[in-house]
């Protein structure tokens, strides 16, 4: 046998193959990545935060819709406000609206550092209007459906900025998951209008418009960093 080992030969071959990556450019990893790595490298640091007036986090999803309905009903009947908390969000149910906030996340960016876009947005949608850019608290993009003239908006909020009121009359409000992240869908009972809103770990993202629910979910799942 020769005086070298297969291991040595493989090592040389691999070193040559990956030599172009020996001095890589420094990449600024997203806070979503940093948090996920923290969970891998320091799994014991994961904590759960539960200190709310009505915590729905541990109630099965299908039962939460019922709880929301009861809270809205109580708010309408009594005129009082009820505070609830679901994973990632906190909300206050008033007689005529639900006020949603993002739960405080000290690791989340305070302004938008990376812009998201909808990878699966069909070609029939054309950019119509919008505002916001990197460094702002909110970015909003409105697209027009060239086939039927309808609009959808895609919004990205820094978590500390997210603070939105939703109508709670003639509508339903339900939790859902987008790519494993928690969020909710608000649906009007009087039109096709709906909004999907979710916390993607770094930001609050939302898609709103008169759009088929499955298509809206499909679009939401395709949100990626530009």
């Amino acid at each position: 046998m020769n005086d070298y080992t297969l291991e040595e030969v493989f090592e040389i071959v691999y070193k040559q193959e990956f030599v172009e990556f020996d001095n890589p450019r420094k990449h600024r990893f997203s806070s979503r990545h940093r948090r996920a790595m923290k969970n891998i490298l320091h799994p014991k640091s994961q904590t759960k935060s539960v200190d709310c007036k009505v915590d729905l986090s541990h109630i099965p999803l299908h039962k939460r819709l019922l709880v929301f309905s009861v809270l809205i009903f109580l708010a309408v009947i009594t005129g009082a406000a009820f505070i609830f908390r679901i994973v990632g969000f906190s909300g206050t149910v008033y007689p005529d609206n639900i006020h949603m906030f993002s739960l405080n996340d000290p690791n989340a960016p305070k302004t938008i550092e990376e812009v998201y876009y909808l990878e699966a947005l069909p070609g029939r949608y054309e950019y119509a209007d919008g505002y916001g850019e990197i460094g702002d608290g909110v970015i909003r993009r409105v697209y027009t459906d060239q086939q039927n003239g309808g609009h959808i908006s895609f919004e990205q909020y820094a978590k500390c900025v997210y603070n939105v009121h939703y109508d709670n009359e003639h509508c339903t409000f339900e939790e859902l998951e987008i790519n494993g992240y928690n969020g909710f869908i608000w649906r009007s009972n009087q039109s096709e209008l709906k909004e999907i809103c979710w916390d993607n770990g770094d930001y609050i993202l939302s898609i709103c418009g008169e759009i088929d629910e499955n298509e809206a979910i499909f679009l939401a799942k395709s949100a990626k960093i530009l």
Partner: protein, 183 residues
């Protein structure tokens, strides 16, 4: 695809070692992933998945020398990235039919490489193997990993591992025959 929740680091020592390894090589692994995926978020996910797999069986990884750890991570991140690319583009890996059976016997064909070739020829031969075949051969012949372990590490089926080993061995056999003729 991402299985970050699988991470099972048992001791502080393991956690510190892997954290140090991450600090040292995260940019390198990101660059490898990005070269395959051309997307920042996907490349970051590939790095995350790589560390999740390493953290799943840390003892094995930490037994390797530093150079070997680096190569192992390079190989995993490349395979994870290729797998993600295929998944995103709906490219399926064609599997061998059942009648082609990989011979997993003792004294495998790979060992013959050491007897028959000099170092330069052997390096040239290994370098020209398709990367996926080379990776599987490396894990099998050098790290003596089981087919099942390789399949898990590289996110392919056991059949695909057997298939790639089969092709790698076919290539070795052909090369050996060629060497015989030249002599």
């Amino acid at each position: 695809m991402i299985s970050a929740s699988l991470a099972i680091l048992e001791t502080d020592e393991q956690r510190n070692k892997l954290a140090e390894f991450y600090r040292k090589y995260k940019n390198r692994l990101y660059a490898i992933a990005y070269s395959k995926l051309n997307n920042k978020q996907d490349a970051e996910d590939a790095v995350m998945e790589t560390f999740s797999r390493i953290a799943d069986k840390p003892q094995k990884f930490f037994r390797l020398r530093n150079d070997e750890q680096k190569i192992m991570a390079d190989v995993i991140v490349r395979n994870v990235s290729v797998d993600m690319y295929k998944h995103a583009n709906k490219i399926e890996t064609v599997e061998l039919s059942d009648n082609i059976v990989y011979d997993d016997s003792e004294n495998p064909t790979e060992e013959q490489l050491l007897f028959k070739f000099d170092k330069t020829v052997l390096m040239e031969f290994i370098a020209q193997l398709p990367p996926m075949q080379r990776d599987i051969m490396y894990l099998r012949a050098v790290h003596k990993m089981e087919i099942k372990e390789i399949a898990k590490e590289l996110s392919v089926s056991e059949n695909v591992v057997r298939q790639r080993l089969y092709h790698a061995r076919q290539a070795i056999q052909k090369r050996l025959e060629k060497e015989e003729i030249l002599k």
